[in-house]
């Protein structure tokens, strides 16, 4: 494992952890998985995932979002909404120059949505696969596991009728719930001046790993980089094989969402699987998901394709 760097369009130096497959040559990497971390985190949380994939012959790249981990950039903010996706374009180009033959883009939690945003922005011409672990389509009530306080008004605005059910938030889910500064949030929605002010405060989650520099405050612009209310039209743009993975006890997202996405919003001719992993939640799903991804991508390696 090495920490390596690439330079983004705006000359910012961005970091990634690099796990080359053991049998790969220094100029050719058959399959490279790019796995983006979730909100507030950095690539340290995903080292075990990378090791599991690496042991199956898959090279893994774990980038730090700009302003996170070892990447340069403003902490918790972006210059503009699509900047993370532009950084991904630069990373994909960098990996191709490095010798990546097939690139599978994806991520965990908000990271999977940043990757989806890349597909929405740039299509699938430069990538060969997409993987989403615990995708939290948080702007849409129907995809959430629980209802939040005050969502009656939101429901009425959307459906023009009264909501007849309520799914109370569990204690386990509450620990992930960020606090939104409503005034600043609405001000940012309406006025460009507030778009870079910090509107969301994430709770601290458990003990940090050594050198684990977390970012707990996010600006409106950064939140916009990974939230969407138009997920069907974004998912329609996926034209490469894909996997949607979630823990059955996910505290943020309704676990059935992955089947829903596969059945309703992914092209029926596409190689797509939806996987619900037993006894896993939003965070603990990372390890078992790593095995599912490694098993899938190892089939793409030339030696395994020849054997098949």
């Amino acid at each position: 494992m090495n920490t390596e760097y690439f330079t983004a369009k705006d000359s910012t130096r961005l970091a990634y952890k690099w796990f080359p497959a053991q049998q790969a040559t220094s100029v050719k990497f058959d399959v490279v998985l790019v796995c983006l971390h979730g909100a507030t985190m950095n690539n340290l949380r995903y080292v075990a995932l990378a090791r599991i994939c690496q042991s199956k012959g898959i090279s893994v790249c774990l980038p730090d979002w700009r302003g996170h981990g070892e990447s340069q950039g403003k902490s918790g903010d972006l210059d503009y909404k699509g900047q993370l996706q532009d950084d991904l374009q630069d990373l994909v180009l960098h990996l191709k120059t490095k010798g990546a033959l097939k690139i599978v883009l994806g991520g965990h939690s908000a990271g999977s949505l940043v990757a989806l945003g890349y597909i929405d922005q740039s299509g699938c011409a430069e990538i060969n696969g997409y993987v989403a672990i615990s995708p939290p389509l948080s702007k849409t009530n129907e995809t959430s596991r629980f209802d939040y306080k005050g969502d009656q008004a939101q429901y009425y605005a959307r459906y023009l009728r009264k909501k007849k059910y309520h799914r109370p938030l569990s204690e386990a889910a509450a620990k992930y719930l960020p606090q939104i500064h409503l005034f600043k949030y609405w001000a940012a929605t309406l006025t460009p001046f507030f778009k870079h002010s910090m509107v969301m405060q994430f709770p601290e989650m458990g003990p940090s790993l050594p050198n684990d520099k977390r970012v707990y405050e996010y600006s409106y612009t950064l939140i916009e980089a990974y939230t969407t209310s138009q997920y069907p039209s974004m998912l329609e743009k996926i034209t490469v094989p894909c996997r949607f993975i979630i823990g059955e006890q996910d505290e943020v997202t309704d676990a059935n969402l992955v089947h829903h996405i596969r059945n309703w919003y992914i092209h029926p001719r596409l190689d797509c699987h939806s996987i619900v992993l037993a006894r896993s939640n939003h965070m603990s799903v990372i390890m078992p998901a790593a095995y599912a991804i490694a098993n899938w991508l190892s089939q793409w390696l030339p030696e395994n394709q020849e054997a098949a």
Binding site: R161, K164, Y165, T239, N256, H267, P268, L270, V276
Partner: protein, 397 residues
């Protein structure tokens, strides 16, 4: 047993065709067959009344393809808006048409004629022997079936998810299973879903492993015994002014057709008449398609048995709640869906939902299923979106 091949009769002249056609219609040995009469560039297709397969005929670039599965779409094909309007109004189309102009259903004892250079047959089915299963279609059968499936599936419901839910029906597995089944059912039938019976039957066919021939006893005497969707007012309310005008022209045309036949002047009369001519056979064709996908050949026999249907609850998981999903079409509907002049902002969809939930005589499930599966077909089974570029895309499961 061998893959079934239709019987092909070559005629030397057009004059010979009509006499051959009447011979085919009367010949009892051909009642179980699909017959193709070929004369130069003319091809006439006829399905015997006891032939057990559902066939599609698709025409493109002077080529005709006959297949026992929904045909491949190409960019030169186009959407048949009248056919979609008819499904919304009646629950079926009053002809052999489908929602794609260049594709027709072959239905028993109706000649389909084409002027094409050549034809191909795509089929991997065999006419089965004596393996027959008589399916009991009561509600407990479907529910038991889904319960069995759930215990063996990877997405078994976690009991924690029921915490705090006000209604037992909130997490009803039958609703969730049927809802997730809808896109596949629409794709297989090559039609939007117009009855809750269709996804239920699909689940049953999927679960029966050991019967190659399934006998279904269903009451096909009137469309109301089978199809819930039958509401021109709901469809009209879901359209913009241009769409309303289109439907108005269509209904006038259909009523003129009735007058020529000397029948009373209402759409309901037309529906009943068209049900006997086309609707019944079309629905049977769709059910056969569902069976064929799972390797079953379906034969029907008339019965006064009405299949127990499951009507969805107004309160259920938001992800699989038909009423909410229907309302979300305003935000998520495909662009092609909009091209059909469908316009259902919350003010309109909310009033439709309130009407559907208040008036129990209207099957709200069917109308919402129809709209959702129509959107799905426009999204992924539209001639202009069907093809994908690149390699390694096919589903591996």
């Amino acid at each position: 047993m061998d893959i079934y091949q239709p019987i092909v009769i070559n005629c030397r002249s057009l004059n010979e065709v009509s006499s051959k056609q009447s011979q085919v219609e009367k010949d009892a040995s051909l009642f179980q067959e699909l017959v193709i009469i070929k004369t130069g560039q003319h091809i006439h297709i006829w399905q015997g009344k006891d032939h057990p397969f559902a066939w599609f005929a698709s025409e493109e670039n002077n080529q005709l393809q006959l297949s026992t599965h929904a045909p491949m779409l190409t960019k030169s094909m186009s959407i048949n808006t009248s056919a979609i309007d008819e499904i919304a109004l009646f629950g079926f189309i009053s002809s052999t048409d489908t929602y794609v102009n260049q594709i027709s259903r072959v239905i028993p004892e109706r000649w389909l004629s084409y002027q094409v250079d050549s034809f191909t047959v795509s089929n991997n089915l065999e006419i089965p022997g004596n393996s027959v299963k008589d399916v009991a279609l009561d509600q407990s059968f479907t529910r038991n079936l889904i319960d069995q499936q759930l215990t063996s599936q990877e997405w078994e419901q976690n009991t924690d998810s029921k915490v705090g839910i006000e209604s037992d029906n909130f997490n009803d597995p039958i609703e969730q299973t049927i809802f997730q089944q809808l896109p596949q059912v629409a794709r297989t039938m090559f039609s939007p879903v117009s009855s809750t019976i269709q996804p239920q039957l699909s689940l049953i066919f999927e679960s029966i492993a050991q019967a190659s021939r399934i006998e279904l006893a269903l009451d096909f005497s009137t469309p109301d015994k089978f199809l819930g969707i039958n509401s021109s007012s709901l469809w009209q309310r879901s359209l913009d002014n241009q769409g309303k005008l289109r439907v108005s022209k269509l209904t006038k045309k259909l009523k003129r057709k009735l007058k020529q036949k000397g029948q009373p002047n209402t759409l309901q009369d037309l529906r009943l008449s068209a049900w006997q001519d086309f609707g019944r056979l079309q629905v049977q064709h769709q059910i056969r398609c569902l069976g064929q996908t799972h390797g079953h050949i379906i034969t029907f026999f008339d019965s006064d048995q009405k299949m127990a249907t499951h009507d969805h609850q107004a309160i259920s998981q938001p992800l699989t709640n038909l009423l909410e999903s229907f309302q979300r079409l305003f935000y998520y509907g495909s662009n092609f869906f909009k091209e059909l002049n469908i316009f259902i902002p919350p003010s309109i969809s909310s009033s439709i939902v309130k009407k559907l939930t208040k008036n129990q005589s209207i099957h709200h499930s069917e109308f919402c299923m129809f709209m959702l599966t129509l959107d799905y077909l426009m999204r992924f089974n539209h001639p202009h979106t069907y093809s994908l570029t690149g390699d390694n895309h096919e589903r591996s499961n």
